[in-house]
Every structure is written in structure tokens, then in C-alpha cells.
């Protein structure tokens, strides 16, 4: 078993676990944060498969931007609830 295989198994299992958590967690904010983590793991996977361009884009856009949009949506809702 090469290093690549080992890493890919770890990443693969982690991906699935985190995805499952993201889908099944009760609180929405947790779900969003797990999605962000999933995105970061995907970046790892991309780097692993020699795709630096995709990795950078996914890191900036996928896990950064999308998460912030999710968070803002939830924040605005919390604001609504406060009022």
C-alpha cells in the first residue's frame, strides 16, 4: 500500500463521514460547518490527485465563499427571530 493509497482511504472515509454528518445534523449551522469541512477535505483530495488549480478555486470559492453565504443566510434568519 502506497502513501497515496493510505491517504486516499483516510480522505475517502472522512469525506463520507463528514458528508453524512452534514446531511444528518440537527442544527443548521452545524450542517453548514460540516459542509465547509467537507469542502476543505475535497481540497485535500484535489491536491492529492494533482489538481492545484481546482484545489485553490475550491478552497476560495467552495469552502470560503459558499460557507459565508450560508452563514449570512442563517444570520439573517436569526435576526428575524430576535425581532
Amino acid at each position: 500500500m502506497t502513501f497515496f493509497d493510505f491517504l486516499s482511504i483516510v480522505v475517502g472515509v472522512l469525506l463520507l463521514v463528514i458528508a453524512f454528518l452534514a446531511i444528518n445534523s440537527k442544527k443548521l449551522i452545524n450542517s453548514v460547518l460540516f459542509l465547509s469541512a467537507l469542502s476543505m477535505l475535497a481540497v485535500v483530495a484535489f491536491v492529492l490527485m494533482k489538481a492545484p488549480d481546482v484545489a485553490i478555486t475550491e478552497a476560495v470559492i467552495g469552502s470560503g465563499l459558499v460557507t459565508s453565504l450560508f452563514v449570512f443566510t442563517l444570520l439573517s434568519v436569526r435576526e428575524e427571530k430576535l425581532k
Binding site: 502506497t2 497515496f4 493509497d5 486516499s8 482511504i9 480522505v11 475517502g12 472515509v13 469525506l15 463520507l16 458528508a19 453524512f20 452534514a22 446531511i23 443548521l28 450542517s31 453548514v32 459542509l35 467537507l38 469542502s39 475535497a42 483530495a45 484535489f46 492529492l48 490527485m49 494533482k50 489538481a51 492545484p52 488549480d53 481546482v54 478555486t57 475550491e58 470559492i61 467552495g62 465563499l65 459558499v66 453565504l69 450560508f70 443566510t73 442563517l74 439573517s76 434568519v77 428575524e80
Partner: protein, 112 residues
Amino acid sequence: MIQYASIFLFVLGLYGLFINKNVIKLIVSLNVMEIGLFIFIISIGYVGDNAIAPIISNTQDLGLIYVDPLPQALVLTAIVIGVGTTALALAIAKSIYNTYQTFDLDEMEESA
């Protein structure tokens, strides 16, 4: 291995869409599905452990083994498209919340 994981990530996204009734979680599931798809696309371009990223410094480097650059280009495009869809979906989710005061599709039907 990672390819299999990506396919299961994709179906996990479908699973999320299957069980969830919450608008936000549906969008999360959609994103999970898309991430799975992106990893799958990259994985079909993976040539082998000895291949390197498709960036050269001069034309002599072309003799080396590179991973397939085309899937990467596709994913690059697809990621941005996914962001566009997600942003739009979240905007709609917000306007849904403004109308119904809930994210839950089932509750909406009751109130509507």
C-alpha cells in the same frame, strides 16, 4: 478508492435530498452531491502515482507524465456554476423565510 468515495458522496447527496425537508439542508445536500461529482471528475483524470500536475515551465517538460488537464478545467467551470446555483438557492431560501417564517417545507404546506 477515492473514486468510489466520490460516487458514494454523490449518492449521499441524493440521500440528503431524499430525506431532508429543510430548505437549507436541501441546499447543503445539493452541495455534497456536487462535491462528490467534482471529485469523481478529477478522479477520472488521474493518471497514476507518478504523474504530476499539468503545469510546465518550458516546452521540454512535455515529455513528462501529466494528469489529464481537461477534467480539471471542467471542474473549474463546474465549481463556479455550482456557486452560482447555490447563491441563487440561498437567496430564494431567504425569500421563502421572509414569506413563511420557516425553512421547513412541510410546515410551509401547513401554513399555506
